[in-house]
Symmetry: C2
Subunit: 207 residues, 2 copies
DNA sequence: TCGTGTGAATGACTTCACAGCC
DNA sequence: GGCTGTGAAGTCATTCACACGA
């Protein structure tokens, strides 16, 4: 049940390519084209796309409009969801200003920081609030997602606060494992993990 | 040949736990303990650790010092590698100030930005240089890794520049697929992919 | 001929089952 | 009893092989 995660991680890449092709005036796209651009093999792309339910036509491939639509539906890009971000450091600011999220159905609608010096500052049109305002902000924004960009040491507190305020999902950029009720959807972004993969590949190459 | 990627992505998590346990005075650690902390199953952890070559002892588990050492070796944490970062926006600054990389064998040793207004600024002790200085910076720092935190539109240029300057690996935070010679090790961090996974899980939960 | 759809085969990763040790 | 080590079984993902359609 549900789409396998490896497939899920490739669909956004197909989506981007679909938009690019659309942009350059194409009406159809084949798995071969997508595969070439991503250095994958066509059959893998075809199997992935089968998960979305789209059906293509021999020779021509898939209709671009249809592909874009079906990916938007599968990835839930059109159903705009609000998020509250906790921890407005450089990373938090970077995410707040990141233009690509809206396309993915996310808008950051509230900012929280425990540093009194930051409270009241405005980033990208949003005023930074104190942790005490979390519930008010949740009501105001009707956010369902919490984003944690605090230092590791305060990430669990941030998580507890967000869960207490009624968040359904947490997108965690702090390099620790959070303990959360298992009703909460969690996605971790851990730079050190990514770096370690790079490290190991580099080590392998040199040997 | 080489450690499977799923395992590779879990090893850094084990490493962190090993350090924490060491910190709190433990001398040994078992797979069960690690597994519980990460909500994994012990046998998976054991198989992963087997990839590093470490051998444990029944009842006691693994010797912590040995585990830490063997993970550092496998993940190449002790062989300090220099990196040059291109694109000193909020994300670039966040990475430059991120304290956890040194532990993973990475130090950001040079900063490049094409914005004349930024050139000369100092971030975390590093002076921002212009793209024209890339080769000089490479010689000075003896960097092997290039980090790209530019907007998508200039990421390919940044990559070409880094490759031209002799970088061996690229850690790419821009949301596009770079075309690179296949001698270059590449690791992409794509926030939209991670977000899409979150989206889909949330969608699934609600249904 | 090129590209899709389907089901089967391969391969990779995870999990199980059992043996041995402290 | 708790924990590791090993090989076998099982599951999931990828790849192949074939049939069909434009």
């Amino acid at each position: 049940m549900g789409i396998p995660e490896p497939t899920l991680r490739r669909l956004p890449l197909y989506y981007r390519i679909a938009l690019e092709e659309k942009e350059s005036g194409e009406e159809n796209i084949s798995c071969t084209v997508i595969a070439n651009k991503l250095e994958l093999i066509p059959i893998l792309v075809r199997k992935d796309l089968q998960q979305t339910g789209i059906i293509g036509r021999p020779k021509t491939g898939y209709i671009l409009d249809e592909l874009i639509q079906v990916l938007e539906k599968t990835l839930d890009y059109k159903n705009n969801k609000k998020a509250i971000l906790v921890g407005v450091g450089n990373l938090g600011k970077a995410l707040t200003n990141y233009p690509g999220f809206k396309q993915c159905g996310l808008s950051i609608a509230g900012l929280i920081d425990s540093d009194e010096k930051k409270v009241g500052d405005v980033i990208n049109g949003l005023t930074i609030c104190t942790p005490a305002d979390i519930k008010k902000e949740m009501r105001r924004t009707r956010a369902r997602i919490g984003i944690i960009t605090t230092p590791a040491s305060s990430a669990q507190d941030a998580a507890d606060m967000l869960v207490g305020a009624g968040v359904e999902a947490i997108w965690n950029f702090a390099p620790i494992r959070l303990s959360l009720p298992d009703t909460i959807v969690i996605e971790n972004v851990n730079f050190s993990v990514s770096l370690s993969v790079l490290n190991s590949r580099l080590l392998l190459k040199v040997k």
